[in-house]
């Protein structure tokens, strides 16, 4: 099973958390998997550049069944399953509001999530302060989902990789895929800059780059590319354990086990980058996010930022991922367009994707994520 050649039962394109975790769940079923990662590092895209949220609240209702299933069935046991402490903390998620308009946004999201069976409710300023006494007095309320939480995305991604590799999954990094090739009516070959690989099935899980790869066999999924930024502080004394977000998306993030705060935010110009390749941060993201944080956490003003980073997200036209068999190209599957909230959903998504690729019934219905769902608006 420990393949070292150029063939496998399944080739997964993309060594991020989706690719690595799907490889792991497939390998557990005894499937021979080869993972091709274009960059030099495993988990080099959004997998290692996000805020670590493992949350359900605030999501599109179509996504909720998958993420809820993962949080119920996978996240609580991930440390034992993977043999690495991924720092999962299920300590709830506060989505904060400072104005009546904010509360309106939060109420709307909360109502929708409740309808899907999620334990989430609106709380007032007093209850917010009881949960997190460090917040600004200007916070007037929040939505509260006690089963949300956070984990360490760097470790979780690499833990899946480590475990999959241990099960014999063949990972090759620095192997950028430039296209797919059909042979006798089925997808068969994966062409890279250096080699040709062959498999009976191919799962494309390469973030925005999936678009170019899929296009080589005539499939186009409407994905965009946006540069997002995160930052991390030095370790601080323990303050709180919840995942945080705001109605206005001023910032999101949490305090890690290590003591540092990991926050993400936006400067409002995402999507308008001139250079769509590089990873040089722009000069606005970190200051903007700091202001967003300090609005809600004035007490963090002396916390030092040690590092900021940039990553590309792959927003789909309707804001939820594609997780789909592509029937028109037999053997081809896609898992992309996670739209910047692909980390917390990854274990649940991967588990179901592995079932899909293995031609098993999926634990959760994935039909909302079909690749061909994008239709004209009018």
């Amino acid at each position: 099973m420990n393949g070292t050649g150029n063939t496998a039962d399944v080739i997964i394109i993309g060594g991020g958390i989706i690719g690595s975790s799907t490889a792991y769940y497939l390998a557990k079923k005894g499937v021979d998997v080869l993972v091709l990662e274009g960059s030099d590092n495993i988990g080099n895209g959004g997998s290692s550049r996000n805020g670590g949220g493992v949350r359900q609240s605030g999501r599109d209702p179509r996504e909720l069944p998958v993420v809820m299933w993962g949080i119920k069935n996978l996240w609580p046991h991930l440390n034992e399953e993977l043999g690495v402490d991924v720092e999962y903390a299920q300590k709830g998620n506060l989505r904060l509001g400072m104005t009546p308009a904010h509360m309106k946004i939060l109420e709307n999201l909360t109502d929708k999530a409740k309808a899907c069976g999620l334990d989430v409710r609106m709380i007032d300023a007093k209850e917010v302060k009881e949960i997190n006494p460090y917040l600004s007095d200007k916070v007037i309320g929040a939505s509260w989902c006690p089963t949300d939480g956070h984990a360490n995305p760097l470790k979780a991604t690499l833990a899946y990789y480590r475990r999959a590799r241990g099960l014999g999954v063949h990972f090759i990094t620095g192997e950028k895929v430039i296209g797919l090739k059909k042979l006798r009516g089925r997808v068969r070959q994966v062409i890279t800059e250096n080699n040709v690989y062959e498999a009976g099935k191919v799962l494309v899980a390469a973030g925005f780059e999936s678009r170019f790869i899929l296009k080589s066999v005539g499939i186009d999924v409407p994905l965009a590319k946006q540069k997002m930024q995160c930052l991390v502080t030095e370790a601080e004394p323990k303050m709180f354990e919840q995942m945080l977000g705001t109605a206005d998306a001023d910032f999101y993030g949490h305090q890690t086990r290590h003591g540092s705060f990991v926050f993400g935010g936006s400067c409002g110009q995402e999507g308008f980058e001139l250079d769509k390749q590089g990873l040089i941060s722009n000069s606005l993201g970190v200051p903007s996010t700091c202001r967003g944080i300090l609005k809600y956490f004035p007490g963090l003003e002396n916390a030092k930022i040690v590092r900021g980073w940039t990553g590309w997200i792959d927003p789909s036209a309707d804001g939820i991922p594609v997780m789909s068999r592509i029937e028109e190209v037999p053997g081809l599957y896609a898992a992309c367009g996670f739209t910047g909230h692909g980390f917390g959903i990854a274990p649940g998504a991967a588990y179901n994707l592995a079932q899909l690729v293995a031609d098993e019934a999926t634990a959760v219905d994935l039909s909302a994520f079909r690749y061909d769902r994008f239709k004209a608006r009018i």
């Binding site: 030095e234 370790a235 601080e236 004394p237 003591g259 002396n302 030092k304």
Partner: protein, 118 residues
């Protein structure tokens, strides 16, 4: 080992090339609850060094003692709690009259004690 006032042997009274090294005025500040002296404007770490203080903090994971290592604000081994702010690089933070300097344990004061502010 730690004197409340400076031991002259730890300071260079006169240097063969530099002569007398210019210093600010002598001021008092607090170090772990004791009143000690240093020269205004010199880095806290240098004032502590002249007092014979070697340990600035104990690390979070292994409780290892740390002190001055790079002395130019890069390595961050010398961080302490200064005026209530942990992780202050004492090698580039100047002594001022009345500042409060505490040994740092992990990222906090000893036994989770309070971070003293002026």
């Amino acid at each position: 080992m730690i004197g409340e006032t400076m031991d002259n042997d730890r300071r260079i009274a006169e240097h063969p090339v530099l002569g007398t090294i210019e210093k600010g005025r002598l001021v008092s500040f607090s170090f772990d609850g004791r009143t000690v002296e240093g020269y205004e404007g010199e880095p806290i770490a240098e004032a502590l060094k002249a007092l014979g203080v070697m340990v600035h903090r104990y690390t979070a994971k292994k409780n290892r003692p740390r002190g001055i290592f790079c002395a130019i604000g890069r390595c961050t081994d010398c961080v302490m709690i200064v005026n209530g702010v942990p992780n202050t690089r004492t090698c580039i933070t100047p002594v001022q009259e009345g500042i409060i300097v505490q040994t740092q344990y992990g990222v906090s004061a000893k036994d989770g004690g309070s971070h003293e502010k002026i």
